[in-house]
Amino acid sequence: MLRFFIVFLAIQATLFTAELTPPVQKAIVIPFTESIASLSAWLVKLFDSGVIAYSNVIRDQDSGFAVAIEAGCNGVEATIVLVAAMLAMPAPWKLKLMGIGGGFLAIQIMNLLRIITLFYLGQWNKTAFDWAHLYIWQALIMLDVLIVFLIWLRFLPEKEAPQGAAHAG
């Protein structure tokens, strides 16, 4: 367990620091965030035509209300946590890659739901928006990470108990 935590924290710190560097921001994070904004706007437009997206902003044309998708709202940090946990776990590489791919999708689906609900909550009530934005959705996204991780663990092949452990008790 200790080994898992040390490797997990090391990978996470490395990925997080890399994420904040200007080259990674420019090449990956900013284009990715903008594509999340476009995808959110496209989804909203399926049932609400008065919405536009530009850069990392989604705007309601009637009310003028807009949300900007910033660091912490793009699901990148949650993905980093999940990737670090899966890489730190002793498991076959094929399962790790499948877990990372599936986990990334699960986090991004949840994140799209977060962005869309926040977009409408903000037009309805500022206090509800702040609550959902700053506290509730943050916790729900991390629960999503935990669920994905626990489900993924169930797919891992069972390892034999180390010699001696079988005789314990």
């Binding site: 916790a139 629960l143 626990l150 169930r154 069972e158 180390p162």
Partner: protein, 203 residues
């Protein structure tokens, strides 16, 4: 048909979460007190010439600055200028209701639950203190006029480290700490949720 143990556990967490968030918000004046005391000691002890006072108001930490005024600000001779800004400590403390919900949803002995919760709370308060302290620092360094922030005498590297510490305290610590604590304290239960889990960790 028996429900999956992961599903049952998560349903319990979802049930506990709103209760824990409500309790956390209404008790914020008490729960936030240790963080306030720690931040107050750290920041006033570190920058006594710049930070005059930190007041605790509900969940807001009001930071009162005093500084030698720039030439364009006129103050009576011998006096310093003052400025106040607030930090929302709850932004760094949502990990507390999340962790509490995870602990409550986990089947365990009453005493063990209390022990896990109290140890977890102490660590989460430290994580919250990190977040609030770096929020104050990044405001001082990056949001104030350069004529004021330069009075702190931070080097470029120190500024970079403050920026990294702030992002880490805002984006990672409140999110990851409750999960790490929960996994660390509940390996037995994890073994029930995920068969073979204990053997996976034994390496």
């Amino acid at each position: 048909m028996q429900a999956s143990p992961v599903k049952t556990f998560m349903l319990k967490v979802i049930v506990w979460l709103p209760v824990c968030f409500a309790g956390w918000y209404y008790m914020r004046g008490v729960i936030g007190l240790p963080t306030f005391i720690l931040v107050d000691k750290i920041m006033l002890g570190w920058l006594p010439d710049f930070i005059k006072d930190i007041e605790f108001q509900g969940h807001l930490l009001n930071v009162v600055l005093q500084f030698a005024p720039p030439p364009e600000i006129k103050v009576p001779e011998g006096q310093k200028a003052e400025l106040l800004f607030s930090v929302n400590s709850l932004m760094y403390g949502y990990s507390i209701p999340l962790y509490t919900a995870l602990v409550l949803a986990t089947p365990d002995e009453e005493r063990a639950k209390w022990v896990h919760w109290i140890i977890g709370l102490i660590i989460l308060v430290l994580a919250q203190t990190w977040g609030v302290s770096f929020d104050i620092l990044q405001t001082l360094l990056f949001k104030l006029d350069i004529s004021l922030s330069s009075q702190l005498g931070f080097s470029s590297l120190q500024k970079e480290l403050v920026a990294l510490g702030y992002q880490f305290g805002y984006l990672i610590l409140p999110a990851v700490t409750p999960l790490v604590l929960w996994i660390g304290f509940h390996q037995e239960f994890l073994g029930q949720l995920v068969p073979g889990m204990r053997n996976q960790f034994k390496r």
